[in-house]
């Protein structure tokens, strides 16, 4: 069943005992998955600060269009003459905000951190299958982050064609100056990012398949590992297609090809290009772009599954259904991309097909949501900050997911396509859910990331409640300005009078966004403070079943001082009673870790 390599373990053990690490090999070019996970987390959070700060800037512009702000002048320099934001800077901010949040924070920051940390720890492995590949994966991610940030300082401005970078706008510097150097850097950065993501994903897949400890069958894997595993597969399937789209776009831009360009008259002259189609780019882009949503979502859902079960002191309800849903979502996610293109000019028949597949995906999603709710039922809920974020996640997942039924319906999409309705939908279901997953994961596994230190729970409570209020206050009203027909990516909604009555709502949204943004500073403070001065907890502070809590508190190479523990049960034996039903399986302890063999007085379950 589970492959196990004793020879490899010995190698690692020796290594741990006899080799002294230098600063560089420990903190910079580390091949240890725990250190790489920290590197991903810190880089992801730094990118997150930039991404969220950008959104606050353009939200201010939307609430008070054309108003002067000292902060604009300070941060944007020549792009905010006299403190008024330049329209092309607005587009750049929107574009880079989207890119950073989707790729750098919610893909690399979330998956990178927790896949690296948890895959070896939860399946009982000494490290990733290839530590070296893992290191390269991180450093490529780092380089791509640096290039993306560097593009902010280009003279002609950072990329400004929206995070979907549809050509011809992204291909022709004649259309916007930002399509020049800024766009080139964007494409280079993303190409490197894709390489990084592929290396990471391949590593996760191989590790999960080959390095599980004895007894860790696939049906005994924690749901976190299932989601990381399936996410990695989706990534391997879809990211290369984005790379091909990016390469073709680079050729169109620099080598005069016409993959996406045809019949264009710009700047007073006709371009030579003919025969290409921007719709082809849309197909290629969304072939990644849609699975990307699930690349963000699934790890967040996996983290939530684990945290809700642990903190409810109950097994996750319907483990097999959960796994089946994950697989179904993964499969369906690759055949629904066309729902981003109902009104792109593609054949209406295709629209019908994509409507069908898209609405199908609501079924496994619904199963997951109901299973979470049932897991809460009759639990003994421990409201740790991670649990609060997980519950908040389920709530926003439902709120945001339901409007997907409107957008996924080709007919209804006609009138809300590219309006704020879409913005509201995907921010709730992908953005907020992804971020809640990230926060939940950080609060829960902080002791694993930082050698037993814990984050302050009270600051965590403040962080959660204000964020929960704020994010609903930002995104719920947004549906309605979308229904009013307000298009997204408008620099100002007051250029013509029709939308004047929406100004108040826009102000409310911005105020809520500023408050929510500000409270993230509480999290940052808590994070940094706890990193150094956090209280040190015991080995297993949340009284959890999974293997990571059996590892050494101090980070050592190889994770376990002695032999790797064997696994005898699934990870969700919380509050399981013995056969006489007079006490728990282990008397007085409401959890039975995976490495505990079947007890005498215990009924054997399926797992």
């Amino acid at each position: 069943m589970s492959a196990h390599a004793p020879a490899l373990d010995h190698g690692h053990d020796d290594h741990a005992h006899h080799h002294k690490q230098t600063f560089i090999s420990k903190y910079i070019f580390s091949t240890d998955h725990k250190m790489i996970s920290r590197q991903y987390l810190v880089t992801g959070l730094l990118m997150g600060i930039v991404g969220i700060a950008m959104s606050l800037l353009f939200r201010m512009q939307l609430a008070w269009p054309g108003e002067k702000f000292v902060i604009f002048e300070l941060l944007l320099g020549k792009w905010a003459p006299d403190g008024v934001m330049d329209p092309s800077m607005y587009l750049s901010l929107v574009t880079i905000h989207g890119t950073i949040m989707v790729f750098f924070v919610l893909t690399a920051g979330l998956s990178g951190t927790f896949s690296n940390l948890l895959i070896p720890l939860q399946i009982g492995a000494r490290d990733m299958a290839s530590g070296f590949l893992n290191m390269i994966s991180y450093w490529l991610f780092f380089i791509s982050s640096v290039i993306m940030l560097a593009s902010l300082f280009v003279e002609s401005g950072p990329a400004a064609a929206g995070w979907t970078i549809y050509p011809p706008l992204s291909a022709l510097p004649e259309s916007i100056p930002a399509a020049g150097m800024g766009m080139t850097l964007w494409l280079v950065s993303l190409a490197i990012f894709i390489a990084s993501s592929l290396m990471g994903s391949l590593n996760y897949i191989v590790t999960v398949i080959n390095l599980r400890t004895k007894g860790m069958s696939m049906t005994r894997l924690p749901l976190t590992i299932w989601t990381f595993f399936v996410t990695a597969i989706i990534g391997v399937v879809s990211f290369p297609v984005l790379l091909s789209a990016a390469l073709l776009l680079i050729m169109d831009r620099s080598f005069g090809t016409s993959f996406f360009l045809s019949d264009i008259y710009i700047g007073g002259e006709v371009l030579h290009n003919s025969g290409g189609s921007p719709v082809l780019f849309e197909h290629l882009f969304w072939f990644l772009g849609h699975p990307e949503v699930y690349i963000v979502l699934l790890p967040a859902l996996g983290i939530t599954s684990e945290i809700i079960a642990t903190n409810s002191r109950k097994p996750i309800f319907g483990y097999r259904a959960m796994v089946a849903s994950i697989l179904a979502i993964a499969f369906l996610s690759t055949i629904v991309w066309g729902h981003h293109m109902f009104v792109s000019g593609m054949n209406p028949f295709l629209g019908s097909v994509f409507t069908f597949t898209t609405l199908l995906i609501a079924i496994p999603s619904a199963v997951k949501a109901f299973n979470y709710i049932t897991t809460l039922w009759k639990g003994n809920l421990q409201f740790n900050p991670a649990m609060l974020f997980s519950i908040g996640l389920v709530s926003t997942f439902i709120t945001g997911g339901l409007t997907g039924i409107i957008l996924g319906d080709s007919t209804l999409d006609i009138n809300v396509h590219d309006t704020y309705f879409v913005v509201a939908h995907f921010h709730l279901v992908m953005g907020i859910v992804g971020l809640y997953g990230l926060f939940a994961g950080v609060y829960h596994w902080f002791p694993k990331i930082f050698e037993g230190k814990m984050m302050n729970k009270n600051l965590g409570y403040v962080h959660f409640w204000v964020t929960a209020l704020g994010s609903y206050a930002v995104f719920f009203p947004m549906h309605f300005i979308g229904m009013a027909g307000l298009p997204r990516r408008y620099y100002s909604n007051t250029a013509f009078p029709y939308f004047d009555d929406l100004a108040d709502v826009n102000i409310t949204i911005t105020v809520a966004a500023l408050v929510t943004g500000a409270v993230q500073l509480v999290f940052l403070y808590n994070f940094i403070h706890s990193m150094f001065y956090g209280k040190v907890a015991g080995k297993n502070p949340w009284r959890s079943n999974t293997l990571e809590w059996t590892t050494e508190q101090k980070h050592i190479h190889g994770n376990w001082e002695g032999a790797i523990p064997h696994v005898y049960r699934w990870p969700y034996d919380y509050s399981k009673l013995n056969e006489d039903e007079d006490d728990y399986v282990i008397a007085g302890q409401d959890f039975t870790p995976q490495d505990v063999p079947l007890q005498e007085n215990e009924e054997e379950m399926n797992h």
Partner: protein, 356 residues
């Protein structure tokens, strides 16, 4: 109203903060043996459970408030298929709101009811095939209904047939304005390509094509009420999207290909101006603009332009550059006679060229 909303938000925020500070104070000194201080204790659980309930109230309030006050933003429909669209929209919205209201109550109510207490035993409940079957099959049935209804509507709207009296119009997009080209008397648009653009021939009509001679290029879109309009969309530079919210119509405009859409306008501009909805909206906007103008004048700036008459509009809804936010065209829906009258005042392509 907004002031009220902002106040409510502030109050809820401060209540939350106050509760937090209480937790903070209370949790400080109590440290029982064997309890890790950063793990939730009984008190944390109790307080957070209450907050869960308060949050449920907030969420319901927010949803209620938004539906009550903001659903008026939804513009009235003015095309033949708008009724079909709105029906499907509101049925779907109804279904999802029912699900939303039920599930959110369950989440927060369970969170409140089953909050952790020392000595409480959680129920070991790992599986129930019947239950899972039910909540797989119910969404399947509901979604099947929505899918079938949706697909029939989609096919009705998109797979249109050209009727005998259809008006054929090309919508021509260029950064950052729209032009309309009517097919003229022969009801056939002449060939066109960006390569023919020269001087006054700004939309690139092929001068050697007879079909194009009677084409009429205009800056405003006039549509006769009750007649099918077939739009052929063409862009000369980047992607645009022709979005006409009142007609529940949208189609991307793609350089290199001709996309199409069709609807039949059903309410004239004159008629819609007289509806209560538009009157009320104009009153609201008027009030906002007068106030704004006063502010502007007080600070020595020019007042806002008057906005007295409502007009339909066509918006660009695909990011196309710096002035994307201000790329729109006025649409006038009028009676057949008015339309013909207006058409007579426009120049055909032949006349335009001859003049030059």
């Amino acid at each position: 109203m907004t002031v009220f909303l902002v106040l409510i938000v502030i109050i809820l925020f401060s209540v939350a903060l106050w509760q937090m500070s209480k937790i903070y104070k209370l949790s400080q000194p109590v440290k029982r043996e064997g309890e890790v201080s950063e793990v939730a204790n009984n008190k944390d659980n109790r307080i957070n459970a209450k907050l869960m309930l308060m949050f449920l109230v907030f969420l319901y309030f927010l949803m209620g408030y938004c539906f009550w006050h903001f659903s008026t933003f939804y513009p009235p429909g003015a095309s033949d298929h708008a009724g079909l669209y709105d029906n499907l929209f509101f049925i779907t919205l109804g279904v999802i709101m029912v699900v939303q209201c039920i599930t959110q109550v369950l989440i927060y109510w369970f969170s409140y009811k089953y909050y952790g207490k020392k000595g409480r035993k959680a129920l070991f409940y790992a599986d129930n095939d019947k239950l899972e079957f039910v909540w797989t099959i119910v969404p399947v049935i509901v979604l099947s209904g929505l899918i079938i209804y949706g697909l029939f509507s989609w096919s009705d709207i998109m797979n249109f047939e050209q009727s005998d009296d259809a008006v054929v119009v090309e919508l021509y997009a260029q950064r950052f304005n729209w032009k309309a080209r009517y097919a003229g008397e022969d009801r056939t648009l002449g060939n066109a390509n960006v390569r023919f653009i020269e001087g006054i021939n700004t939309v690139g009509i092929d001068a050697s094509d007879d079909d194009g001679q009677d084409d009429v290029v205009t800056q405003e879109l006039h549509l006769p009420v009750g007649r099918q309009v077939i739009f052929k969309l063409r862009s000369q530079d980047v992607l645009h999207s022709a979005y006409m919210p009142h007609f529940r119509a949208q189609m991307n405009v793609v350089p290199g290909m001709i996309t199409q859409f069709s609807f039949t306008p059903s309410v004239t501009t004159e008629e819609i101006r007289e509806t209560d909805y538009i009157k009320e909206k104009m009153r609201t906007i008027g009030k906002i603009r007068t106030e704004k103008s006063k502010e502007l004048e007080a600070s020595g700036q020019a007042a806002l332009d008057d906005y007295e008459n409502f007009d339909y509009y066509l918006l660009c809804n695909k990011i196309c550059g710096q002035s994307h936010y201000n790329m729109q065209m006025k649409i006038v829906v009028e009676t057949e006679e008015e339309f013909q009258e207006w058409m007579k005042t426009q120049k055909t392509f032949r006349q335009t060229i001859a003049q030059e």
